[in-house]
């Protein structure tokens, strides 16, 4: 499944630009959702099944009823889970590679060994999750299921949904902690570069978020 470039010009109107606010996420309008698409549902079913095979410690699920454009790793007691919200899962500009990357990134929060901030020791940093996703995670997924993650394609698809949401933060690329080279989690541009360059944080460092 590929993204639909014809829809690209409208993206900035349905992604919230200011990502600093509380308890609300960008959402996908109903009229753009692929929730009714049998093809998309089949793709999602295959992805969730494959991820369950590759990473059996984690429960993977699609939160179909949610319009939020995002994904999340959670730990509830001893239960580890990864959820992809419906706004991302059924997004018309997002294809298999982006969803697979999102699943791997969230899995990386659980399984990447470090860095992990002391105040969030159950979940690895954003940068660690990214690097785990495109290295150990993608390798395990390919070995266990045969699915190959196309990282550039995944990032291009995600451009459609995250670039305008992050534009204000890119203005702070010279602020701490970016200037220290320790964290790029709030800069989509920096984050993409680090993923493609396979940059890792130095030992003993962690996000300051």
């Amino acid at each position: 499944m590929t993204a639909l470039p014809l829809l690209r010009p409208v993206r900035s109107s349905w992604v919230v630009r200011e990502r600093t606010m509380l308890f609300a996420e960008p959402k996908l309008p109903d009229q753009l959702s692929l929730k009714a698409s049998a093809e998309r549902r089949s793709v999602l079913y295959d992805l969730v099944t494959e991820f369950g095979m590759a990473f059996p410690r984690i429960e993977f699920r699609i939160v179909a009823e949610s319009k939020i454009i995002n994904a999340q790793a959670n730990r509830f007691g001893n239960s580890l889970s990864v959820s992809v919200y419906g706004g991302l899962a059924y997004h018309p500009l997002v294809g298999q590679n982006a969803i697979a990357f999102a699943l791997l990134h969230e899995t990386g929060h659980h399984l990447a060994p470090r860095p992990r901030p002391p105040w969030s020791s159950w979940l690895a940093c954003e940068c660690a999750a990214d690097q785990w996703a495109v290295n150990e995670g993608a390798t395990t997924l390919r070995e266990k299921t045969g699915r190959r993650l196309e990282v550039p394609a995944a990032l291009s698809e995600l451009d459609f949904v995250v670039d305008s949401a992050w534009v204000s933060n890119d203005n702070c690329i010279n602020c701490e902690p970016y200037a220290s080279g320790r964290c790029w989690a709030l800069s989509w541009v920096g984050r993409k570069a680090s993923i493609l360059g396979k940059c890792r944080l130095a030992e003993g460092t962690h996000c300051l978020l």
Binding site: M21, F23, K67, N70, A73, N74, R75, F76, V162, C172
Partner: protein, 184 residues
């Protein structure tokens, strides 16, 4: 809080709350209670004021001062005016227990939309104990997980009525020495 697309304010709140309830900083809360008798989460304090006193408010380096204040006011509003009373009660109960019960090693904080709810509430529900994980020391020490489930709502409003910082509670006791602020 681990999301593909980070929401800085929400994450900042969770991280700063989690910092406040790390073993060493949780001990500061216990020491304050032992020294003054003040029970911060006994239901007679306002949560937003307590949050201010323990440095549990959003603070974001990668945004403007104006946006930081906006997020802070929304956070005060959520705690002061928006949370259902039974959710406020549940938060107070869990956190007061965490201070009173020395078997609580630390507390972690998270928000999620993964569980459909009609209004803000703790998980698994407001009446039960929080999710608990053994601390891994082979003894009775446990870690509490305070997870706020959020309805699939819009942004919180920009409140005109909230004071920044929140007004003091009448029964506040001086914090000496001051609580250690988060290094972020």
């Amino acid at each position: 809080m681990a999301a593909l697309i980070p929401t800085p304010s929400d994450r900042s709140i969770c991280n700063r709350l989690s910092f406040r309830f790390l073993p060493a900083t949780l001990q500061e809360l216990r020491d304050h209670q032992a020294r003054t008798g003040e029970r911060l989460f006994d239901g007679t304090h306002h949560l937003h004021r307590v949050a201010h006193r323990i440095h549990a408010q959003p603070k974001i380096v990668a945004t403007s001062t104006e946006n930081s204040k906006r997020s802070r006011l929304r956070w005060w509003y959520l705690l002061h005016q928006r949370l259902p009373s039974n959710t406020t009660d549940a938060i107070n109960r869990v956190l007061q227990t965490a201070i009173d019960n020395t078997n609580v090693y630390k507390v972690t904080f998270d928000v999620t939309h993964t569980v459909p709810v009609t209004d803000f509430q703790l998980l698994p529900d407001n009446n039960s104990a929080p999710y608990v994980v053994t601390a891994g020391f082979g003894d009775a020490r446990v870690i509490y997980q305070v997870i706020l489930a959020c309805p699939d709502d819009d942004y919180l409003p920009d409140p005109q009525s909230e004071h920044d910082p929140p007004d003091p509670d009448t029964n506040e006791q001086p914090v000496v020495p001051p609580f250690t602020p988060p290094p972020f």
